[in-house]
Amino acid sequence: MIPKIAYARPHSLKEAVKELSAPGTIAHAGGTDLLGCLRDGIVTPEKVISLSGLSDLKGIARTGDGGLRIGALTTLAEVADDHVINEQFTALAEAAASAASPQLRNQGTLGGNLCQRPRCWYFRGEFHCRRKGGEICFAMNGRNEFHCIFGGQNCFIVHPSDSAPALVALEARVRIANSRGTRTIPLDSFFVDPAKDVTRENILRPGEIITEILLPAPVTQMRSSYRKARARGAWDFALSGVAIGLRFNGKRVDQARIVLSGVAPIPWRAVETEQALAGKILDGETVARAAESAVRSAEPLSDNAYKIHLTQGIVHESLMALRPE
């Protein structure tokens, strides 16, 4: 049973951020991640502030400049089923459809998906690890087959979100609200590297929430995809995955965004690969070289070197599938 909590469901954003400014509070969107964390004592708030009464934060709409505004409380199922997102922001639709199970997608929100806590079994278990304020990351010398091969410093989690890499590849921005107002930042700078701060996964401060996710107007000749490998066919987190956003100029790649999932503590930009692709035609050799460059700086732990080959394979496969006919 979940420990005792108080609960409030405010009906305006102003009230919500005010409630959340008080110590000992935590936001509840769909609750699919939060309830597990509460049950396991990963978070121990006194009061849960439900966002589900904030109807302004639900739904998908065109913005004035031809982009898209997705309210933070829009469910993953709504994102996965949306016609415009499938057509023009394919990576996001594919990521949302591949996250979790049908039931969880009917309940879990896009904002919650970006803010969910890591799935590391030490973090979720009864281990006082570094992320929980302890001395060491147990994954370093423990069981680490599902941990990171990039960006591990102080802590070796992987970021669990499928939507985050897709949104970073699509150059999304997030609007953040607090009691003083709102600000909009690129999603790429939302996540926090454990080298900088091991106790948080994102830059949100107490009293701050994501209100919406903004996608820029799609350019013509943009193609995107998200593909993930998991240990079985049914629902599971990514062992490794890649979100790709390619802008073409004719047959040539004009600009590439390659963002890996399941292999790093934050959605991981494969910058070398992005550069290797710019200005190139996606022939077999270019793709093979790009896929190889994506894993060149990998530093596997004792049990997860398989992720190197897996990642290389997924990047290869995804790039081949995105070649213009």
Binding site: K4, T32, L35, P102, Q103, N106
Partner: protein, 205 residues
């Protein structure tokens, strides 16, 4: 319980008579019943301490006035306060699907839903799929296709199938597997479950 089951599920929540209301309360919920018109969480008093708070839960077309703790899940309230034991506690962490119910017609895990979050929504449990004394069509299809062994996962499977067929009345095999992927079966009755969903899709009106 029998009377409640005998009610056809038509999703209609209007016109619940006082008699129906009291009968529902009678289903093991007397200790939690609130007969006064206390404000709902969404109407006025938004903040709650950890103590009991009033909630009106619409389940299988019936309104149930209850008092709940904010930490109680919908699964707990359905089973322990409303006596509706169709939804099962399996993993209680969103992994197995045994607790699946429909919320506004969509399958969701009741183990990861706070009861207070269900305020204002329509909940359907496997009990609500009965057609009077007879099994509903999806339930009937599961029986005919022998789509279970121990049966523990079955209420959740049936509800997921119902939700899938409401959204996609004629799913292909791949769509069925995808749509049913949030429900595990320890007995491995998967092939028969897929057949049952196909069968249900054919006989469903």
């Amino acid at each position: 319980m029998e009377e409640r089951r005998a009610e056809p599920h038509d999703g209609n929540t209007d016109g619940v008579s006082r008699r129906d209301f009291l009968r529902t309360i009678g289903v093991g919920t007397l200790e939690a019943a609130v007969l006064s018109a206390a404000p709902l969480p969404s109407e006025g008093a938004p903040a709650h301490t950890g103590d009991l708070v009033p909630l009106v839960l619409t389940v299988n077309g019936r309104r149930n006035a209850l008092e709940v703790e904010p930490r109680w899940t919908l699964l707990y309230v359905l089973r322990e306060k409303l006596g509706l034991t169709g939804a099962k506690p399996g993993c209680e962490r969103g992994e197995c699907g045994a607790c699946t119910v429909l919320i506004d017609g969509k399958p969701r895990y009741s183990c990861l839903t706070l009861a207070l979050e269900a305020d204002g929504h329509e909940i359907t449990t496997v009990e609500g799929l009965m057609q009077g004394e007879k099994l509903g069509q999806v339930q009937e299809a599961f029986v005919q296709e022998d789509a279970f062994q121990c049966g523990f996962c079955t209420p959740g499977q049936v509800i997921s199938a119902e939700g899938l067929l409401r959204k996609t009345p004629h799913p292909g095999v791949a769509e069925i597997r995808h749509g049913m992927s949030g429900n595990l079966c320890r007995c491995g009755a998967y092939d028969h479950i897929v057949k049952a969903v196909q069968h249900a899709s054919e006989i469903r009106k």
